[in-house]
Amino acid sequence: MAQLAFWRVCLALGVAYLIQTTYLAQLLVYETRCDLLLVVVVCVALLGGQERGAWCGFLAGVLSGYAGAWHLGSFIVSRVAAGAAVGYLPRKVSTENAFAPIICAVLGTLVADLVFLVMSPTNFSLTWWLRHTIVSCLLHATVAYPLYFLLKKFLCPTAKFHCN
């Protein structure tokens, strides 16, 4: 896997956090928000591999947990799990696959939401969680494609196709 510049990953996360907490949080689709930080984690994991994905997930979890002052541990572990799971994929599945960002966004959302449901001390109703996860998967899959190419240009500007 290529070594993505750490500061570039941090900057991408910082910008995503700013957009998420100012404008994106107010945009609701079926009472569900798009989690841009999670999509950035998925894209970084796809581009940089498991370790970078986990690190990015850790930072995204810290930011999400601090923003809500709530369940910091659940946020960190769910995002690290999503980053590590997606980062593990490219070894098995070719990243040359045109649908990789979409598939990975859905997988990352499923992993993150499942881990959060299991770990979080708050009881979420299963119907709420299912609706939230399905809509989130669709939203993240839509956002993942353009964001992946945008991040690829920003995180690995010299790479012709993929960082790895």
Partner: protein, 271 residues
């Protein structure tokens, strides 16, 4: 060289440290130093981002709806005049009320000072309903201070850092507000559901609660939350559910505050 798995485990240990640090600070209603640092760095940037967006929106609105704005302005001016006269009348009643309470030797209700605050950040995910305010402990804000706006009750402060604070909205899953109906004084607790509507529970089964009833804070403590002053508007009853088998009465409330449209609030700080 350490394997990726070892590094991920190290990350999780680091996470455990942060969680312990955070929960220890939380016991005192404060943010941990790393959380404070993140809030201090990001809140000015969030404020600037929101202002830039608002400026563009304003410019667009002026260009597209100039006539509408003029009409709206006139309407608002007449409403303001009306509100001013109503305020003067209410101030008279308040004075009279205080004098009567003094005559009856009733204790004077504790009053706080209203501190204006701007919402600089919204929750990052769907799991909680919280906002970040641009006032913190340096401005006299404490944990459990009540947050409200012109429409009614917004929520309560749950975590304070030097320059910012996090407030849980009444729709948050962990929120509980002692409330009563304005018409019949039927008391209960308004609990957040994580969605748009709140649930009004623990009401006496025989209480008279109907659709359309206004619900306001009762001034009673619910759980370990803030003590909300009596009379703040919470919302309107949308639907009532009676379960005869369990003698349970629940009502669903539409909050009076349009949470997606407010950008500034008041924090009732202690004097």
């Amino acid at each position: 060289m350490r394997s990726p798995l070892t590094r991920i485990l190290l990350l999780l240990f680091l996470a455990a440290g942060l969680v312990i640090w955070q929960s220890r600070s939380r016991q005192h209603g404060k943010a941990s130093p790393p959380a404070s640092a993140v809030a201090t760095v990001f809140s000015p940037l969030q404020s600037v981002t929101l202002r830039v967006g608002a400026w563009f929106m304003d410019v667009g609105r002026v260009m597209v709806r100039r006539e509408d704005i003029r009409t709206e302005n006139e309407l608002l001016r007449s409403r303001l005049a009306n509100a001013e006269s109503q305020k003067n009348r209410l101030l008279g009643y308040q004075k009279e009320n205080l004098e009567l309470r003094k005559l009856l030797e009733l204790p004077v209700r504790p009053s706080g000072k209203a501190l204006a605050a701007e919402i600089v950040g919204y929750q990052a995910t769907d799991f909680s309903q919280r906002v970040t305010l641009n006032v913190g402990s340096r401005h006299g804000v404490f944990s459990k201070d009540v947050v409200y706006c012109a429409y009614g009750l917004v929520g309560q402060v749950i975590q304070v850092s030097p320059f910012t604070s996090v407030a849980a909205l009444i729709t948050d899953r962990e929120s509980g507000v002692g409330a009563m109906t304005a018409r019949t004084f039927a008391k209960g607790i308004v609990m957040g559901s994580g969605e748009r509507l709140c649930k009004f529970s623990y009401i006496n089964f025989n209480a008279d609660v109907r659709e359309g009833d206004m619900v306001e804070t009762s001034g009673l403590v619910a759980g370990q939350g803030a003590i909300y002053p009596r009379g703040l508007v919470v919302g309107k009853v949308l639907r009532v559910e009676r379960d005869k088998a369990y003698s349970r009465l629940d009502a669903y409330i539409d909050p009076a505050v349009p949470f997606d449209r407010i950008s500034a609030v008041f924090v009732r700080i202690r004097q």
